[in-house]
């Protein structure tokens, strides 16, 4: 039941924000902050209760809650969390809190409706991470889409309309394919077993013809790799990222992309194991293409948010490659990558937002030498630039190292190609640092260095990324809760 509360708090908090903002926009901000913090607290509590204890190998689920929703169609409200969900939910509320904080000064019009959308997106994302009923999963998948679309459409930058449409159409196209797949799985399962159910555990035992399994899986896969995103389905991402408000970019990069990876791990691999093994080589190949292509695209960009968006494409390539290596080490790396990429890229977007607030441009050719007037921000930017190129001590290194270490056992050639991503990431990361913070000072007027509120956001992110680099075992132990 507590899991339902997690989502209800966000949904009702969002409604409340919308209503109350008519009278007092400030109250809406505090309600939003309070709602995500409450969720974070609830989740921490669950973690301390279940996550730390000794666990037996059979008991992979910490909490489950199931109640009938539309029983005549076999739809139930079935939610549960295991280690993987726990990690992703922690990330969701962590980044959610920061998303609320970094919108504090940025959003001036329709504040209440803004926070409504923000919280509903977060609710959709949390729902995706806990749903164990495919219909419910699809429902949450849509819940996170529409508010995000509105966030871009209403509070975005100049070209927001185009970006929002593109984001919506891409995701929706994938979503519909997934719906088709869910339905065919539902009917195939029903026809075979006689009971029609959307429940994850019943569907797990479906015996599928290899050809059927392949086609159904492809429906799921397309939806997930569009979200991930995998080259060549990535082109919505740079537009959506660069036009979205800062919090939107933070949530897109930090969480929305992760739902794709989560979907593959949670649904594609267990439901269609053999079919997934069959396409493993291709999936890894496309992952590697993504790593290199994303990095090369990032290197060429002059819009700082587009640049960071393409680095996401590159980093998520590691995720795809790692998942389909089918090695435990690589899988641990994938989950680390999900978490650390969320934090590091999120931080980069937050920084880009702060720079844009000060300079009113996203063009890195118009920046330069910002370190002189903003040494503290420069220092943090250096930290996250280094995180993005996979410097040890920071979490991203653990992730990429484990992924490569694991995939190497599966495929040497592709791993070697993927490793060149380490060189490419250095190329685009240092170029970004150079154009923005180093070099001769271009801006004449004095810029203010980070404020107290910004310091809180950036310090939290910095501490998180360092802790993940030094004590990654905490996350890994949580995940092995599931892997055992």
């Amino acid at each position: 039941m507590i899991l339902v509360w997690l989502i209800v708090v966000l949904l009702s908090g969002g409604m409340l924000c919308w209503l109350i903002a008519r009278w007092n926009p400030m109250a809406a901000k505090w309600i939003a902050l309070f709602a995500v913090l409450a969720d974070l607290a609830i989740l921490m509590n669950i973690w301390l209760q279940y996550g730390r204890g000794t666990h037996t190998s059979t008991d992979t689920w910490m909490i489950q809650y199931q109640t009938a929703w539309i029983p005549s169609f076999g739809i139930s409200f079935h939610v549960a969390i295991d280690g993987l969900s726990m990690i992703l939910l922690l990330l969701t509320f962590f980044l959610g809190t920061l998303a609320v904080l970094c919108s504090w000064k940025e959003i001036h019009n329709r504040t209440g409706f803004y926070y409504f959308n923000l919280l509903w997106t977060l609710a959709g994302i949390s729902g995706v991470f806990v749903a164990l009923d495919l219909f419910l999963f699809y429902f949450f998948w849509e819940v996170m889409l529409v508010p995000m679309y509105l966030l871009i459409l209403i509070w975005g930058d100049k070209n927001r309309r185009y970006a929002a449409y593109k984001f919506f159409i891409f995701t929706q196209a994938g979503g519909l394919l997934m719906l088709l797949s869910i339905l065919s799985l539902y009917f195939t399962h029903g026809a075979k077993n006689g009971t029609y159910s959307y429940d994850y555990f019943s569907l797990l035992n479906t015996q599928l013809e290899p050809a059927t399994a392949k086609w159904i899986m492809i429906g799921f896969m397309i939806a997930f790799v569009i979200k991930l995103p995998m080259v060549p389905f990535h082109s919505w991402l740079p537009d959506a990222h660069s036009e979205a408000p800062t919090a939107g970019s933070l949530i897109l990069a930090g969480l929305l992309l992760k739902t794709g990876a989560y979907g593959i791990i949670r649904f594609v691999l267990p439901l269609f194991h053999q079919a997934a093994v069959d396409i493993a080589w291709w999936a890894m190949l496309f992952g590697v293409i993504g790593i290199i292509y994303g990095a090369m695209m990032a290197f060429a960009q002059t819009d700082i948010k587009r640049l960071i968006a393409y680095t996401s494409v590159s980093h998520m390539g590691f995720v795809l490659t790692g998942i389909f290596a089918f090695r435990e080490i690589a899988m641990q790396g994938v989950v680390m990558q999900i978490v650390t990429h969320g934090i590091s890229t999120g931080a980069l977007f937050v920084l880009a937002g702060m720079i844009k607030e000060r300079l009113h441009t996203r063009d890195i050719e118009k920046m330069g030498g910002l370190w002189t007037s903003m040494p503290a921000m420069g220092g943090v930017a250096m930290l996250f630039t280094m995180a993005s190129l996979g410097l040890p001590v920071l979490g991203n290194f653990i992730a990429e190292f484990l992924i490569l270490l694991g995939t190497f056992q599966a495929n040497v050639l592709l791993t070697v190609l993927a490793s060149t991503g380490l060189v490419f990431s250095a190329l685009y990361s240092l170029r970004m640092m150079q154009k923005v913070f180093l070099g001769p000072t271009t801006s004449g007027d004095k810029l203010t260095d980070i404020t107290a509120r910004e310091l809180i956001i950036l310090a939290t992110l910095s501490i998180a990324i360092v802790l993940l680099g030094l004590y990654p075992q905490t996350v890994m132990d949580l995940l092995s809760y599931r892997l055992h």
């Binding site: 060549p232 080490i329 040890p392 484990l402 190497f408 180093l438 001769p440 004590y471 890994m476």
Partner: protein
């Protein structure tokens, strides 16, 4: 004893944290005390630890300390754990001791700089990372230090970031070393796949049993590790970043790009000797790389005009000697050269920094001159360093270490006459360019006035390093002259024994030839730059010689080559595809729909006549269908 190991890297780390978080609120004095203080304490701890180590060697030859479990997944385990054996101890001593001297020097050298705190913070972080590198018990932790020093090198090369050229130099250093690092990472993956562990002692133990000698597998592993070492240690063909790295402040060049970081490759090869020994082919490659590097860099050093670039090329060349020594199997000799080189090259860079600072940031040696009497302390200390670099017999540390390498280049099992010949030519070249540097800078007439002589904070480290550059060699004598082998006795515990060829000529002859080469080099320098300067002037009129000179001057045109081969194609491709060609597919789909929309909307023109006609056509069509089917 073992419980204090963590203090050695933790102290500089603490300095880094204090200075980076609170540095802006501290006075310069406090910053200097913190920045230099932590490294000095680390040096004291190291020396104390070293004395204990030598007096009562630990049973298994190493102190170990595990801090915490870092990662543990499936069969992959690694911890934050340190291990100090004799080899690490030598490196630890050099890093902390020379590091401390350089920090003290920097307190004076950087005193007018705006970013005093940032400088010391980066330097402290560097020392911390370098210490982790040499103390690491497993290769992942070693890699952490390895990348950490790369970061600090980048930060410090680009310390004066407002000049674009400096930032480019910093980026270049990072890029090129990253290529080596990536190769090394792949080497680690391969090692792990084969052995299931990345703990160094476990690898040392398991490798000889697991791998077949000279098998392609072990050769690839060794080659990949070597590539990592070549990147960090600026060996051909990954050497091009080091001359540009001189954009950083002089103490940085002394610490990172002379004494410590560039020798990380040497450490890696020596540390992984169990792997390298299994592949004689890669050992040969190591030796050849070293030999080629020392020659190429030496030639470039002869014609440079920037005092720091001369020293940079000479560093590449001296590290080449170390690789040569390791490659022929003279492990201890290679490490010994690292040991002496750290003192005299750090000294030379610091002294050069003092010269540059006194001459209003003038780098060109031909604009210097006559400094002998103006800066006496700098002169005498520089002289001691130069003597060591040129390997002046018996009065310099460099002689003892280089003589060993020359001898083993022939006589060791992996050696051969050709390697010896190259090394000998290198000795001649080194002596020549060192003499040229000394004569041009310190003799002759004064060309630039000096501003102020260096203060005591700067001169004391110079004096101490000068003394060490003279006496550090005495702990290891050529064994045909005197039986003093203090150094090799210690490091030999951590390294494989040296095997020599059965039949070798007399060592005395080789020593005489080496001494002759050095002296000829010095004399040639004296002849060309002091006694008869007309010769050089005459050479400058011969086009072929000028061409050769320019070729050497540009570092054998490696930069141009890489620019054409890699940089320009990469820039071209990326800028060509800036708009993302894949997006064209989707915009194409959109265009098709817009086009179709244009066509179909013609049918919806609002005229009743058209609608009636199209309805009629539809009816006829359906009827026709029914009729024919």
């Amino acid at each position: 004893m073992q419980e204090v190991l963590f203090l050695i890297p933790a102290l500089p780390l603490m300095g880094f944290l204090i200075l980076s978080l609170a540095g802006r609120h501290l006075s310069k004095q406090v910053i200097a005390v913190v920045g230099a203080g932590v490294v000095c304490i680390a040096a004291i701890v190291t020396i104390w630890l070293g004395i204990n180590f030598l007096q009562a060697p630990p049973e298994n030859g190493a102190y170990t300390e595990t801090l915490w479990r870092w990662m543990s997944v499936a069969n992959f385990n690694c911890s934050f754990s340190f291990r100090i054996d004799a080899l690490s101890l030598v490196f630890l001593f050099v890093i902390t001791f020379v590091g401390a001297l350089i920090h003290i020097y920097s307190a004076g050298f950087m005193k007018h700089d705006r970013d005093y705190a940032r400088f010391f913070a980066s330097m402290n972080l560097f020392v911390c990372a370098m210490l982790i590198l040499v103390m690491a018990d497993n290769l992942v932790l070693l890699y952490l230090g390895w990348e950490g020093v790369g970061l600090c090198s980048y930060l410090l090369i680009g310390f004066w970031y407002e000049t674009t050229a400096n930032v480019h130099a910093a980026n270049k250093a990072f890029y090129i070393t990253r290529i080596g690092d990536t190769a090394m990472a792949i080497g680690l993956f391969l090692l792990f796949r084969e052995l299931g562990t990345l703990d160094i002692p476990a690898i040392q133990k398991a490798a000889p049993e697991h791998f077949i000698k000279s098998s392609p597998l072990i050769t690839s592993i060794a080659l990949l590790l070597l590539a990592g070492g070549m990147g960090k240690s600026a060996q051909v063909p990954l050497q091009t970043w080091l001359p540009d790295a001189m954009a950083g402040p002089s103490p940085v060049s002394a610490l990172i790009h002379a004494a410590t970081m560039v020798t990380a490759g040497v450490y890696l090869v020596a540390r992984m000797h169990a792997v390298f020994q299994l592949s004689p082919f890669v050992m040969n490659i190591t030796a050849v790389v070293g030999a080629v590097t020392l020659l190429i860099a030496g030639c470039s050093a002869m014609v440079q005009t920037d005092i720091k670039r001369i020293l940079a090329y000479s560093t590449i060349s001296q590290v080449g000697y170390m690789f040569l020594a390791l490659g022929v199997g003279a492990w201890s000799a290679g490490i010994f050269h690292f040991f002496t080189h750290a003192f005299f090259k750090a000294l030379l860079f610091l002294a050069a920094g003092a010269v540059i600072e006194s001459l209003h940031h003038e780098h060109g040696i031909f604009k210097m001159g006559g400094l002998k009497n103006k800066l006496p302390i700098v002169f005498y200390t520089f002289l001691a360093g130069a003597a060591a670099l040129a390997a002046l017999p018996f009065v310099s540390a460099g002689f003892f270490s280089k003589d060993q390498i020359l001898w083993y280049a022939w006589s060791a099992n992996g050696g051969n006459p050709l390697l010896w010949l190259v090394a000998l030519a290198g000795a001649f070249i080194t002596a020549f360019y060192t003499t040229r540097l000394m004569l041009v800078v310190f003799w002759g007439e004064i060309k630039t006035d000096i501003s102020e002589p260096p203060g005591r904070l700067m001169t004391w480290p110079l004096i101490i390093l000068a003394l060490l550059s003279i006496v550090a060699g005495f702990i290891e004598w050529p064994h045909n002259l005197m039986h003093v082998t203090l150094f090799s006795d210690v490091v030999q515990k951590a390294l494989p024994p040296l095997t020599e060829k059965d039949i070798v000529p007399s060592e005395y002859i080789f020593q005489l030839i080496a001494v002759a080469a050095t002296l000829t080099g010095i004399y040639t320098g004296y002849l060309l730059y002091k006694k008869n300067t007309a010769i050089v002037a005459k050479w400058k009129e011969v086009p072929a010689l000028v061409g050769l000179r320019n070729f050497f001057f540009s570092g054998w045109r490696f930069d141009q080559l890489y620019h054409t081969l890699f940089v320009r194609p990469f820039m071209f491709v990326t800028s060509l595809n800036k708009q993302d060609v894949i997006d064209k597919i989707y915009t194409g789909i959109v265009s098709i729909f817009q086009w179709l929309n244009g066509i179909f909307s013609v049918s919806q023109d609002g005229s009743v006549r058209t609608y009636v006609i199209s309805v009629l056509i539809g009816i006829i069509f359906i009827l026709a269908l029914q009729f024919f089917l």
